[in-house]
Amino acid sequence: MSQTTAIHGEKISLLRVLGPGHVWALGVGIVLVGEYMGWNFSVGKGGAIAALIACWVAGLLYTCVAMIDSEVTSTVAAAGGQYAQAKHIVGPLMAFNVGLFLVFAYTMLEAANAITLGYLVQTVGGMAGATDAAGEALVLHDKPFIVLTIMFLAWLNYRGVYATLTFNLVITAIAFIAIIILFFAVKPWTGEVLKHNELLTGLPYDWIGVIAALHFGLWYYLGIEGTCQAAEEVRSPARSLPLGTMTGIMTLLIAATMTWYICAGLMPWEYLGQAVTPLFDAARFMDSMPLMVLLFIGTIFSTLASANGCINDASRAWFSMARDRYLPQWFGAVHPKYRTPYRAIVFLVPVAVLFAYYAPLDQVITFSILSGLLGYTFMTFNVIMFRRKWPLGTIQRGYVHPMHPLPALVLLVLCGATYFAVFLGYGTQLMAMMLFFIIASLWFHFHRYRYVRRGDQFSMPWPRPQGDY
């Protein structure tokens, strides 16, 4: 997450405080919402057991991502994360695409957060008693709350929300503790509440369902790579980034497994596979008002914390691209008073609102996951090119990941499997997304790039890259 950037006043003060703990908290903060919603669609795609396998395989994928990204980011210590990496290592068009991946992944995640929050308010409204037996006549509409979430957080970001970073971390911690409390409340050491034996009915789709489930399995961790965007503010990136990111992944792996264990032991998989707020539903099973309130708060907090970070990151990526003139430079403006990329923030509001308003949750999440997946694919060849253009020893690296190029190859294989998983059931979206990026790339190369200054794009104090350049 990049609450703290070169354009904001807090950058200098934060520069001295970010240690591994902060990196951990930053990463988990934006991602934890994935435990509260979205992951369970993987149950729908392959059954409950497939979802657990997908969760662990996705954990391996993200371990590779973290290893690779830690090395590159601790060296390209520029705000903007993967966008700046692509600019220095692969080239301008790749950077343009990576910037768009970031904007999409975060804007869609934001829309998904808003949908979840609106749905939860609606559910609780329904439980408060205004629905009749048929469940029709009087329901609280979710749309006003969906839009309100986006508008409010955009407004906060517009005003400069950096002071709320700590607050964000606190509400994330509460959301995390809520999962742990729920885990102990269901008494996993007894068979009283959780009925895995009766509810786990094997693999409804056989093994192809396991691969298909990988699609939403990414959702458990999506966004953890954002930790590396804090590279500039970290006290000693060499130590903090790998440590913080790895412990973040471990935390999520534990939280994800616990979440799966609770939900799979309570609900029929057909319901779980399409639920909007699975953890809140789990609390409903316990007949305990305090638990329900806790998980209600946890869900709300996790969506708010995540959406908040998403608006910040998406608008920052959009802003960075405009500043390099990859996009109309009008968006590269900084607010003189709040020092935020205010035009980028305002511009992205209608995009998020329209998607949150009209698109179904699983679609929105698929767009977000696809954008993330394209970004991970980029990392595989990015790190190989990085080692080729600047072999070890030619430049100062903050951290060198072990066993190169094995992590890159494993990541590439897992990415390939995930493309296939998305193809199963969501092939049209995959195709539409690829067409979008192809057209956008052609547009950039043949039209947009003429407004970009060439030499200015390489800002690292490195020697000339090796090879034919």
């Binding site: 729908g44 692969v90 080239g91 301008p92 068009l93 790749m94 950077a95 695409n97 009766e198 509810l199 409804p204 789709y205 298909a212 609900m267 029929p268 057909e270 319901y271 539903d281 409903r284 003139r325 996009l327 109309p328 430079q329 009008w330 511009f347 995009v351 698109a359 179904p360 699983d362 679609q363 767009f367 694919t377 060849f381 493309y419 193809f423 199963l424 059931g425 969501y426 092939g427 049209t428 979206q429 995959l430 195709m431 067409l435 979008f436 990026f437 192809i438 790339s441 547009w443 190369h445 947009r448 003429r450 407004y451 970009v452 200054r453 060439r454 030499g455 390489f458 000339r464 350049y469």
Partner: protein, 130 residues
């Protein structure tokens, strides 16, 4: 800065506006087209279930039944959820085309990037022949 540096033109306000609108239109076209054309999530089928009015008919054991009821479902309202399945039968040609498009996309981007990157490096570090 050497003399050979590329000086980009300044884009007019109107040009900037058109570029923004173009991107916005492209985003919405790409992301909403599958939804509106009804192609999104099209890969669904229905299980043939003879008896959709009882839990046993839907193949649910007592624990599952208790779960559904706890969530406020009746056999009738739960039936569509239980019967719905993704259709994972796929066409090898469609898979091949999709794979080609994804790989082709990355090749295209890397190739174009490389030519642009050469200019960047040349401006930053000077031409190789110098």
């Amino acid at each position: 800065m050497s003399n050979g540096d590329y000086i980009p033109p300044r884009q007019s306000a109107l040009g900037q506006f058109f570029d923004s609108m173009f991107l916005l239109a492209l985003v919405f076209a790409a992301l909403f087209a599958p939804i509106y054309l009804g192609l999104a999530g099209g890969g669904k089928t229905e299980l043939a279930i003879a008896d959709k009015t009882t839990w046993t008919g839907l193949g649910q054991n007592p624990v599952m039944q208790a779960g559904w009821e706890k969530l406020g479902y009746t056999p009738e309202t739960a039936a569509p959820l239980i019967a719905s399945r993704f259709d994972y039968s796929f066409d090898l040609i469609a898979l091949g085309v999709t794979a080609l498009v994804v790989i082709g996309y990355f090749l295209l981007v890397v190739a174009f990037s490389k030519s642009e990157y050469r200019e960047v490096i040349a401006e930053r570090f000077g031409r190789k022949t110098d």
